[in-house]
């Protein structure tokens, strides 16, 4: 399983991967922090996302999205939400 991290402008329109309960998705995209969330840990002016799954599919998806790839160290600290499997990566 591969992990990718992204940052984007607040509420940027993203193409979320759709999921069918009966099938395994190629990857899962998770919102980790929204800067406009008043209860967020940080208000950096950006939204942060994580993705896990097939790295090639994630990278292909990201090419067409209004997101910038970052590494995990560039996430706000502590990021508001860092669930499994990210926290086990």
């Amino acid at each position: 399983m591969d992990f990718r991290y992204f940052k984007a402008a607040p509420d940027a329109p993203l193409e979320w991967p759709t999921s069918d309960p009966g099938s395994e998705p190629d990857f899962v995209l998770v919102a980790l922090e929204r800067t406009n969330d008043p209860d967020a840990n940080n208000h950096t002016g950006f939204d942060f996302f994580g993705a896990y799954g097939d790295g090639a599919v994630i990278d292909a998806w990201a090419v067409n999205q209004l997101v910038d790839a970052i590494n995990a160290a560039a996430l706000p600290n502590p990021v508001t939400y860092y669930p499994t499997p990210f926290n086990e990566a």
Binding site: A12, L14, T18, A31, D37, T80, Y81, P83
Partner: protein, 512 residues
């Protein structure tokens, strides 16, 4: 000489915010009768109300604060034999309008809710049944769970909420419990419908099948008056949320100063109920600080209900403190909980013909038929006066069901003529009325890019179009689907025989 002082009752005018559409939002009457209405959008107590005491079923009781509009228990009742908590939604009128634009932040649909008929407003579908009127509907506050049959409301599990589900349970609406679904075992024992098989409250109850179609038998374990929450009730819950949000926006489209005190979910766009919908991660996709793990109650390290990121009922927290009001239909503690995400809700009432399915194959139960007389999709199709929805005669003709391609998801498409068909057009076209009452958008969404067509008003809600025969609708989305979750989310691709992680709520209709 005795002096008699007459007691004067003076009618009062209660005024709510006029909101983004500058509506006339007021109620006029005796103040002590306001609580029996749906309330005013944008005010405390909107979206629920009190049941007239003389009509309250004998096995139900008010809670402390039920009649206090500012209480967490406003409009909330307990069904004593099962300890189920239900919200009472009084009958009201709805006027869906088309303001003529698709601009942010309202995206083409205006909803006005009133307690008396005005203009083009019609009595909302949940309040007509069996050819008569319904005073109000008791709706499960929580997704249903397996509880003991002794009336305690305690989980029917070993070792507390995190334990193993047991047989001989009752389907009940309780907080912080494991929501049932028609999945029995897949490596791990889940909490299946079939274990809600007690006949303690209904001697005629049968063991529910572990399939979506088991929802009728499931609800009956609580009593003969309890029925699956139909699609039109779920849709009306969405309209109430939308009307509330529009009343709490200024004409300029930003939340009013006090908006978050009237609806907690006005703090983060989209301004609709939030939920457990962030891609199997146990938080809300737009408000990531809203999180659903409750490890203190499960006894398990996962913090979830038998399946990764499926939450216990009413589990929402922010910074470790309960924040369930962010997940309710009215953004207040008094509202219906978890209406966005967590588990798809099984929402019968609309189905499709079993052969020759096409866009004209949808069939809706007419309000002339009693919902209590229905126990399957087959019963719907056999009902007298069944409503056959028309297929759209041509693209953008606005006269019927528009989709022809199966099994793909599209987001709601803002339409200058109304994202949902306006009430003013319903009388002339039964299909338009049916579509709006079922939450079927006026036109096909043309994108699967969340937000790019301004769908944020609806939280990026999607419509999973399908030509499945014998469909049994699902609503609301689940813990896995950030791309498609919300009060207007619909999925018409599942059938009664399927076993999925889908939940249910029961309703009890209070007829006039």
């Amino acid at each position: 000489m005795t002096t008699i002082t007459p007691l004067l009752r003076v009618k009062e005018r209660i005024v709510g915010p006029s909101g983004i559409y500058n509506i006339q939002n007021e109620w006029y009457g005796y103040a002590n009768e306001f609580k029996y209405t749906i309330g005013l959008a944008g005010l405390m107590g909107f979206g629920v109300g009190c049941c007239p005491p003389e009509l309250l079923p004998g096995d139900m009781a008010a809670l402390p604060g039920t009649e206090d509009r500012f209480s967490a228990n406003y409009g909330t009742y307990v069904h004593l034999p099962s300890a189920s908590i239900q919200c009472f939604v009084p009958a009201h009128f709805i006027d869906v309008q088309a303001p003529g634009n698709t601009d942010a932040p309202t995206y083409g649909t205006k909803v006005v809710i009133t307690s008396t008929p005005t203009g083009n407003a019609v009595l909302a579908r949940p309040f007509t049944d069996g050819g008569g009127n319904v005073i109000g509907v008791f709706i499960d506050k929580y997704e249903g769970s397996n509880t003991r049959s002794d009336g305690s409301g305690a989980p029917n599990h070993t070792n507390g909420p995190g334990g193993t589900p047991l047989t001989n349970g009752i389907f009940a609406s309780r907080p912080l419990q494991w929501p049932v679904s028609p999945v029995a075992q897949s490596g791990t024992l889940y909490s299946p419908f079939s274990l809600c098989n007690s006949t303690a409250l209904n001697g005629a109850a049968t063991t529910p099948a572990n399939s979506l179609g088991g929802v009728w038998a499931l609800c009956k374990t609580r009593g003969t008056d309890f029925l699956p929450c139909p699609l039109w009730v779920y849709t009306q819950i969405g309209y109430l949320s939308l009307a509330h949000a529009q009343a709490l926006l200024t004409v300029g489209g930003v939340p009013t100063v006090n908006a978050t005190s009237r609806a907690a979910w006005m703090d983060v766009a989209p301004y609709l109920p939030k939920g457990n919908n962030n891609s199997n991660s146990g938080s809300d996709v737009n408000k990531t600080s809203l999180q659903f793990a409750r490890t203190d109650l499960t006894g398990h390290t996962s913090g979830f209900a038998g399946q990764a990121s499926r939450a216990f009922t009413g589990a929402a927290r922010v910074n470790g403190l309960s924040a369930v009001e962010h997940t309710t239909h009215n953004g207040q503690l008094s509202g219906i909980v978890d209406v966005n995400g967590n588990q798809w809700g099984i929402a019968p009432g609309l189905t499709s013909v079993t052969t020759g399915m096409s866009a004209a194959g949808y069939r809706l139960l007419p309000s002339s038929v009693a919902w209590s007389s229905i126990a399957s999709n087959n019963d719907i199709r056999a009902a007298a006066g069944l409503i056959s929805l028309a297929a759209e005669s041509a693209p953008a003709a606005d006269d019927g069901i528009w989709h022809t391609a199966a099994n793909s998801l599209a987001y709601l498409q803002p339409h200058s003529g109304g994202t949902f068909h306006p009430t003013s057009t319903w009388a002339a076209n039964a299909t338009r009325k049916a579509m709006a009452e079922c939450g079927i958008p006026r036109e096909l969404g043309t994108t699967n890019t969340q937000g790019s067509t301004g769908t944020n008003h609806f939280g990026g809600d999607g419509f999973y179009r399908s030509l499945t025969a014998d469909c049994l609708p699902l609503v609301g989305g689940d813990w896995f689907g950030s791309a498609s979750a919300g009060v207007f989310d619909r999925r018409f691709t599942d059938t009664p025989s399927l076993r999925r992680f889908n939940g249910a709520r029961a309703v009890r209709l209070l007829s006039a």
